[in-house]
Symmetry: C3
Subunit: 151 residues, 3 copies
């Protein structure tokens, strides 16, 4: 891959993650599901502090189904910052993204969650794969935390 | 437009919006005014929840005059995140930006505003145009909200 | 420097600052120390509001030693936004970055600091230099503030 192709890949991956955040926070579940490889490994064990298989998802549909069950009644904002994207071959890449998320439970919602507002900070550790059509997709994601505040 | 020209346009538009945020928050009104096309449509109806023509501005001078009247006595921070920039021709482009803004009313200011601190999250939906000198300018902007908190 | 080289330099400097934030917040002090030129001027006088020579550091080791003494017992998150990077020659560049930082003093820590949580916003004003190996390094940094809240 030459320099221009590498810069194009980096910009494409930035926009892929941008769409991930926007489609998640606007709850566009069908479009969100299309951003992952079939075998994508989404590891939410550390970020949720529930460290068993129930927080490890394979593929977009399983991941988004779970996410939707959790997030649908909430207002959420997820922001990603200063990605360190490394293109590792002509169809693979990896990245670390700094992140912040805030989740609000509306007053009208009877929620089993142990917070009214959650504000978290950490890093996404991800890999990406380019499919046969030339589109970059999320191949794996793991979220580590620097800090989570609940009130 | 070839790949390099497209990457250069994307970087230019990122820096245009970066200047917009910095000049706004440092209150450099004259320089801020120069970032818009003469016919720029700045739509603040949804973001302010005042949905009439008084929150729709045409051109940099009218928009910045209004902004200045509102923001001059305040401390403000506006941040933009993960832009999805699409170059639609050799002189036009569009983007969605995730955003957060915080506005503080200093204790020394007698303000008619219904808050001491406003913290908002949402998305800018924008278009851009390249002028005859090759400079990218903001052609339209509309801010939608995920959440606004006032205290 | 041609257009592609300039785009590559801009992406490299974005990733340099991304590493700076990540290594700082994960307290990877040895790796952090390697990001600066030997003669780097790190000016923390305005950001800390202690405006004497004790807040001006020359070189990575002196800067990181001070930072470590201050930050080691804390939880910190530093985020950078919307960089305006200008490549000024084939081996020099400058930038302004919007930023937010949050510092938490854990309950278990007996701290002389006048806060339990500090949340700041402002801009980094920086220069960079490319060394003989082609790696970009931080040559100077000065942090100005829009707002600092302590509680």
């Amino acid at each position: 891959m030459n320099d221009i192709e590498r810069l194009l890949a980096i910009e494409s991956i930035k926009q892929l993650k941008a769409r991930y955040f926007r489609l998640l926070d606007t709850k566009a579940w069908a479009d969100l599901t299309a951003l992952f490889t079939d075998d994508a490994v989404m590891d939410m064990r550390e970020s949720t502090n529930v460290r068993d298989e129930s927080n490890l998802f394979i593929g977009g549909p399983a991941f988004v189904r779970n996410l939707r069950g959790f997030i649908e009644p909430l207002v959420t904002v997820h922001h990603g910052h200063t990605p360190e994207i490394e293109v590792t071959s002509d169809h693979t890449a990896s990245a670390v993204w700094a992140m912040e998320d805030t989740l609000w439970v509306p007053d009208s919602v009877a929620s089993p969650l142990p917070f009214k507002v959650l504000n978290g900070h950490g890093h996404y550790h991800e890999t990406y794969e380019r499919n046969a059509d030339g589109r970059w997709l999320i191949k794996s994601s793991r979220l580590t935390r620097l800090r989570v505040d609940m009130r």
